[in-house]
């Protein structure tokens, strides 16, 4: 039963200032586990992008992280507006972020491409009007 470590977070969609708390806490825990620094960095960057997307585009959601001796799996689930064309959303520079979010420095359309770049696998399930699930893994080697 103690073969994995599970971490669970609820991401508040209303509060911009708190966005990033989940990824910061995951980072702290991974340091305590002695996960190699470059793996921690990849997880932190990918998870932060996903967390911010949940806040900006989906009004919050939940994050589950599972650490096993082999890899770190992340599941981000929201009940937001969903992504119409996932393939398009994955392209660098594609963004539907509104202007007020852009003025905060987001909306470059680099989030999803970065999540792909920093993880070993990534899968998006999304239904318009229902929500989005993003699954990512980073292997520890």
């Amino acid at each position: 039963m103690n073969n994995t470590v599970k971490l669970h977070y609820i991401v508040d969609g209303e509060d911009f200032t708190r966005a990033g708390e989940a990824s910061a806490d995951v980072k702290k825990n991974l340091r305590k586990l002695g996960v190699p620094p470059d793996v921690i960095r990849k997880v932190a960057i990918a998870l932060y992008e996903g967390e911010i997307n949940m806040v900006i585009h989906a009004n919050g959601g939940v994050i589950d992280v599972e650490v096993s001796p082999e890899c770190i799996s992340m599941a981000l689930k929201d009940q937001g507006k969903g992504i119409e064309d996932v393939e398009k959303a994955m392209q660098e520079g594609y963004s539907t972020a509104p202007d007020e979010v852009r003025s905060l420095g987001f909306g470059a359309g680099m989030g999803l491409p970065n999540m792909k770049k920093y993880t070993d696998s990534m899968k998006i399930e999304s239904t318009v009007g229902v929500g989005t699930n993003v699954y990512m893994t980073v292997s520890i080697s």
Partner: protein, 441 residues
């Protein structure tokens, strides 16, 4: 456990310590616990930032440095004043007034750290232009920050500017010159730093990035200050020792080092909590396209060091006035001298790990989670740890017991009392059996 491997300037005065929880709550690396009524600093975690010295109401935290008598240990004594020293005095018009007073105090020579700082600034500009190091480059001047990065932000180690801090360079250059000038052997020449903080004392005794520091001894600005005030005077007989311009003097305050790089593309943060926030964000690549990051553990920069006497913001204003009439910079280099470069790598020291073995660490983390859930979550500090979470961690590391939590202990006592009461009404097992037989023959 605590061997000679660690020297720390920040230490505890056991007699003065009341075992309150002020310091454990404020330590940015959670390096302090209260044990048996006294604070205890976990040496592996302490970065000598001096926060605990600032917050202790009983003045039980102190910095260790050399006494003034250390001057008598050397034949030839060179003062290395930190630029922050110049911000301590009222109405100072001329740096030479301070430098002449240092000679009066018994030094044979002064070598301004501000002068070496200008050389480091010039070298940093060259490194930025060469563009071979990963960006942003993080300043290595504040040893508290460098130590923090080493234990907590390993992925940023390669971004640290691999140059000795100005004071180390000053000690090397001053000693070299003095050997030539006096013909004395290097051990008889004392390069004596006048420091704003304990972190720099520690860096001189247990160096970072270099095998051995050339700084011979370290005095505190706060101890030298009263001596100097007595000896300072202006007049035509004043000798000219000052050799640094605006850039060198500006290193005393936050943004001083960064603005000397002649680029706007920098970030400067001061105060240890702010520094930690910036490092976290930097590690997650939350800001790109920066050339340089200047980080100072103290509010306001080195003028805020715990061994200074003046309020850091007043010191900043005083320095601004003093700087006004100085030339921009007086010291330049053609190429980066060897004395300036680090001669050993900075290594990650992963003190935060729960266990060497990954699987064991996972088991411990799950245990920690369970323990934390059983604690009241008040973060009251009565157990001697800064938070319930920290106590849970101490328990799985084997440093503390769950009964250190007074609330948990009370629960245990309550259930014990409960059990005693039950016991009172119960029959011993042997008798109980006999009774059963009587009832059901």
């Amino acid at each position: 456990m605590e061997t000679q491997k660690f020297f720390h300037s920040v230490t505890l005065d056991r007699d003065k310590c009341k075992g309150c929880i002020n310091c454990i709550k404020r330590c940015p690396t959670e390096a302090i616990r209260v044990r048996n009524g006294k604070a205890k600093i976990i040496k592996e975690r302490c970065i000598d930032c001096g926060e605990c010295i600032r917050v202790c109401p009983h003045h039980a935290k102190k910095a260790i440095y050399d006494p003034l008598e250390v001057l008598t240990h050397f034949k030839y004594k060179i003062a290395l004043p930190a630029p922050a020293l110049y911000g301590q005095f009222n109405n100072l018009e001329d740096v030479d007034i301070v430098l002449n007073a240092l000679i009066e105090m018994g030094f044979d020579e002064v070598y301004e750290v501000a002068k070496a700082a200008e050389l480091v600034s010039d070298a940093t500009r060259k490194i930025l232009r060469e563009n071979k190091l990963p960006k942003p480059i993080i300043s290595s001047a504040c040893p508290a920050v460098t130590r923090l990065i080493r234990v907590r932000f390993p992925t940023l180690i390669d971004n640290i500017l691999p140059l000795n801090a100005p004071v180390e360079l000053a000690a090397r250059l001053a000693k070299e010159e003095a050997v030539k000038k006096t013909g004395l052997p290097p051990e008889e020449i004392g390069a004596i730093f006048i420091s704003p903080c304990p972190a720099k004392v520690t860096a001189a005794k247990m160096s970072l990035g270099t095998e051995k520091s050339e700084i011979s001894a370290v005095l505190a600005i706060s101890e030298v200050y009263p001596q100097l005030v007595k000896l300072m005077k202006n007049g035509p007989e004043l000798k000219s020792y000052a050799q640094a311009g605006k850039i060198g003097v500006s290193w005393a305050t936050s943004t001083g080092e960064a603005s000397a790089l002649l680029t706007d593309n920098y970030l400067a943060a001061d105060g240890i909590e702010n520094v930690i926030r910036v490092l976290e964000d930097l590690e997650d690549e939350k800001f790109g396209n920066l050339d340089f990051i200047e980080l100072n553990a103290c509010n306001g920069g080195c003028v805020g060091g715990v061994l200074t006497v003046e309020n850091p913001y007043i010191a900043r204003t005083k320095l601004k006035r003093l700087r006004k009439y100085l030339p921009v910079s007086l010291n330049h280099i053609n190429r980066i001298p060897e004395e300036m470069k680090w001669d050993c790598d900075l290594e990650y020291s992963p003190i935060l790990k729960l266990d060497e073995d990954f699987k064991t660490a996972m088991v411990k983390m799950n245990e920690m989670e369970e323990i934390e859930a059983s604690l009241p979550g008040l973060d009251c500090g009565s157990c001697g740890a800064p938070s319930c979470k920290a106590l849970a961690e101490d328990v799985v590391r084997g440093f503390a017991s769950i009964d250190d939590c007074i609330f948990r202990f009370r629960e245990n006592v309550a259930s014990l009392v409960d059990n005693i009461q039950k016991l009172q009404g119960a029959f011993p097992a042997a008798y109980r059996k006999k009774k059963e037989e009587e009832e059901n023959p």
